[in-house]
Amino acid sequence: MIEVRNLTHIYSEGLPHESVALDDVNFTIADGSFVGIIGHTGSGKSTLLQHLNGLLKPSSGTIVIDGTDITDSHTKMLDIRKKVGLVFQYPEYQLFEETVAKDVAFGPGNLGLPQEEIDARVRRSIELVGLDYEAVKDVSPFELSGGQKRRVAIAGVLAMEPEVLVLDEPTAGLNPKAHYDILDMVQEIHEREKNITIFVSHNMNDIARMSDQVLVIDKGRLAMDGTPQEVFAREEELKAMGLALPDAAEIVSQLRKKGMELPAGCLSVEEAADAIAAALKK
């Protein structure tokens, strides 16, 4: 379980250009949840993610993960990194080793694990991201395609076997096929590992389809926290923050405004199609 209490972060505190990136953020994430975070560019999403594994220290407030306060200065950094795996935007830019296997082994190697354990983890995480271990292990990561590079980079974080996996826009810059491949992979890992998965996305369809809980960040504050149904029901507020509805929900909303009698809360294309068909039959 993750409990974030009164989290505030101020950049360049005390300097003329100081700015409040996070302002008194509170939320709780239950074990096994899949959480989507949405917010406009510059709303503080990335700052929030970096707090979750101790890369940034809060100006005030606490983050407790499974009973461990990771904002406590006595907590060992490596323990936090072991607990929470953070995949940055464009993670393929952090690849550096000669071979895929060596690159994936970087994280577990830093944890000081025995060699056999490292090898086992490398094989497991490369397979977990849907790559053929034998085929890619000795290949240079720079020879792979964009989508494959990203998979290797994600494998590098998975090899730390984190209890919480955090992904910052895992599909940014990928083509539509690679986009769905990566998301399917993330979903699959989530189901197999039963961990907490947190992901940031600008694609409301993905957020609505995949998450159990949605956090909306606006100007450093937690504006909404609820199920996709609850969050996307607040259309006006979302639009005021420069956010959109999932495509299906947008169509239903437009039709309702035109006077068609449709139920609220259709998020997927299937739900919307059924609702529209039912309304037309009347």
């Binding site: 890369l55 990194r81 072991k82 940055f88 690849l95 550096f96 994280g107 720079f142 730390m160």
Partner: protein, 266 residues
């Protein structure tokens, strides 16, 4: 952190100093540095100090900002002080083993220290009050007489502009890579020198790759807009020699005269 380096960073403002012609500021800075080496005794530093104070006050750049820029070079200053303190021969004041401090050593160390601080703050003022673009335009204008003997002034200036432009980008990139590797448990702060040097590889390799990628994208974007270095280009903001530049030049000549007179007469 690496972001704290102000050397070569512009402090936005609209003061008299900011608006001076970059050409004047560059020449003045160069001559100011020369003047610091003309000085031969402590009294000689009064004129440069007054000039620098005047420039700082007029520029309205906060002093904290200037000090922050001085911090990274403090090591160099400390090193120079130590070398001078211990290496200069003369009347011994204090001795421990092979180490000895002499009266002349103290004198030279303090003298060199003042000279260095004045030099660094002086040149920092140039970059703090001049936009990088203004700086390179100024350098290009000053170098253009040498075009006749085959010096590629425009190309040099363009290279400098690009290099300056990408310092913040690369710093940001470095920051991101460091964080990404830290998230994978990388440790840059402990271990001996060899271990620490080795710990830099996961940062340097991705950084080089990023730098090449950025350079390639930029080259492509420039070519797509038909950039050619050797054609005669005009400027959107042509540099004009205004009255304040003339006043500044006269005042600066006065300063030079004082420095030279002090050296010759005293």
């Amino acid at each position: 952190m690496i972001r704290d380096i102000t050397l070569g960073q512009f402090y936005p403002g609209n003061s008299v100093i900011h608006r001076l012609d970059p050409r004047i500021k560059i020449i003045a800075t160069l001559l100011y540095i020369v003047a610091l080496f003309v000085v031969k005794d402590f009294a000689g530093f009064i004129a440069p100090f007054v000039l620098l104070e005047a420039v700082i006050i007029l520029s309205k750049v906060p002093r904290r900002y200037i000090w922050r820029g001085l911090r990274p070079v403090l090591i160099i200053i400390a090193f120079t002080l130590a070398i001078n303190l211990f290496m200069v021969r003369g009347e011994v004041l204090w001795q421990l083993g092979f180490l000895h401090i002499t009266r002349e050593g103290v004198h030279t160390a303090v003298f060199m220290g003042i000279r260095l601080v004045l030099l660094i703050i002086g040149s920092t003022m140039l970059t703090l009050t001049t936009r990088p673009i203004g700086l390179t335009d100024g350098i290009e204008a000053l170098l253009s007489p040498f075009k006749k003997i085959g010096l590629p002034a425009h190309e040099l200036a363009m290279m400098m502009t690009i290099a300056l432009r990408f310092i913040p980008t690369l710093l940001e990139e470095t920051d991101k890579i460091i964080k990404a590797q830290q998230a994978r448990g990388a440790d840059f702060e402990s271990g001996n020198l060899f271990r620490r040097a080795k710990a830099l590889i996961p940062i340097l390799v991705p950084l080089f790759i990023s730098a090449f990628r950025i350079a390639q994208d930029l080259a492509m974007a420039m070519e797509a807009r038909c950039y050619g270095g050797n054609v005669k280009r005009t400027r959107m903001n042509a540099m004009k020699f205004a009255r304040r530049d003339l006043i500044a030049a006269i005042l600066f000549c006065l300063f030079l005269a004082i420095v030279v007179a002090q050296r010759v007469l005293m």
